[in-house]
C-alpha cells in the first residue's frame, strides 16, 4: 500500500518561495494569480495493514514541523 503525505506551511506563515513563484508568474504575463503556496509531497511505500494513525505519527514526529507546517495524509 502507498501513502501520500502533503506538507504545507500553515496559513498565516509567510511563504517567501510561494511569493517568488507568484511574482514570476506575474512577470510571465499570467494575470490574476492572487496567491501561491509551495509545499511538498512525500510518497511512502508501506507494508499492508499500516494504519493511518501510524502515518499520522510519522508526520507528527518527523515528516512535518507542526510549529509552521500542516499536513494531510492520503492512503491508497
Amino acid at each position: 500500500m502507498k501513502a501520500r503525505v502533503y506538507v504545507m506551511l500553515k496559513n498565516g506563515v509567510l511563504d517567501p518561495q510561494g511569493e517568488a513563484v507568484r511574482h514570476a508568474l506575474g512577470s510571465l504575463g499570467f494575470d490574476g494569480v492572487e496567491g501561491v503556496r509551495q509545499g511538498k509531497v512525500i510518497e511512502l511505500d508501506l507494508a499492508e495493514g499500516t494504519t493511518e494513525a501510524t502515518v499520522t505519527e510519522m508526520c507528527e514526529k518527523l515528516l512535518a514541523n507542526t510549529v509552521i507546517e500542516s499536513y494531510r495524509v492520503e492512503l491508497s
Binding site: L9, V13, P16
Partner: protein
C-alpha cells in the same frame, strides 16, 4: 568546564566551535552523531553550524532524531547547558528544546556577512559578559534563518526575557528581529549568528569571544 561538540555528517563549524571553547579554557570532546551518550561529566554541549544530513527534509529535522540528539535532549532536560549555532539552532528547535522554527530567508537568498546584533538580555550564562542593549558584530551565514514563533509563543519569550539577541537591521524576515532565544531555564541558547567566527583577531572581529569566556566563568562556578 567540559564541553562536547557534536559532529553530524555535513557539520562544517564543529572545529571552529571547538577552538572557541578551547581558547576559553574548556576541555573539548568531539562527539559523533551515531554515539548515543555524551562523555561523562559534560557541562555544555555545542551543536554546530553546517548542513547536517544535507538539510534533507527540513534543516535540522534528521539530526534532531539522531541517536546523539536524544542524549542532548536528556542532558538539557536534566539542567545541562547547550548552545546551538546556525544549523545547531535549527536542530534544537526541531528537538523541541527551543520554541519556534527557522524558515527560508524572506529574501530567498543565502546571506553571508557580518551583522550588528543587539544584546536583548544579559541574564544568561551566555550573555552575562555583555550589557543589555550592547551592539556586537557577529557574522551570519544562512539560507534558513527566518525565525518564526506564533503570537502566543512570542509574547511568552518576550515576557520571560528569553530573547537573547535581536538583529540591529533584520536581514532575513525573522519575527520581532529575533536572532537568538533561550530556553525557559536559560541554559539552552539557540542563535543563527556565529560567535565562534568572531573569536580571533584573524576573523576580523572578536565580539564573540566574551560569550565563551563568560560561559567558562558561569558554568565552572555553577
Amino acid at each position: 568546564m567540559k564541553a562536547a561538540v557534536i559532529v553530524f555528517p555535513g557539520s562544517n563549524c564543529d572545529r571552529d566551535l571547538a577552538v572557541a571553547f578551547e581558547r576559553a579554557g574548556a576541555d573539548v570532546t568531539m562527539v559523533w552523531h551515531k554515539d548515543s551518550t555524551l562523555p561523562a561529566g559534560v557541562d555544555i554541549v555545542g551543536v554546530p553550524g553546517g548542513f547536517s544530513y544535507g538539510d534533507y527534509l527540513r534543516c535540522g529535522a534528521i539530526a534532531a532524531n539522531s541517536p546523539i540528539c536524544k542524549a542532548v535532549v536528556k542532558h538539557a532536560e536534566a539542567g545541562g547547558y547547550a548552545m546551538g549555532i546556525c544549523n545547531g539552532f535549527q536542530i534544537l528547535t526541531e528537538t523541541g528544546l527551543l520554541p519556534g522554527a527557522l524558515r527560508r530567508n524572506a529574501g530567498l537568498k543565502y546571506i553571508c556577512r557580518t551583522v550588528g546584533l543587539q544584546v536583548a538580555t544579559s541574564d544568561s550564562a551566555f550573555t552575562s559578559a555583555y550589557a543589555k542593549g550592547d551592539t556586537i558584530d557577529i557574522p551570519i551565514a544562512h539560507h534558513d534563518g527566518n525565525y518564526f514563533a506564533d503570537d502566543e509563543t512570542l509574547a511568552r519569550l518576550q515576557g520571560d526575557d528569553r530573547v537573547a539577541f535581536t538583529y540591529a537591521e533584520n536581514p532575513n524576515g525573522s519575527v520581532a528581529d529575533i536572532a537568538g532565544v533561550l530556553s525557559a531555564n536559560r541554559r539552552v541558547l539557540g542563535m543563527m549568528p556565529h560567535p565562534e567566527r568572531a573569536a580571533d583577531a584573524g576573523h576580523g572581529g572578536t565580539d564573540g569571544t566574551a560569550m565563551f569566556s563568560a560561559l567558562m566563568e558561569q558554568v565552572v562556578t555553577a
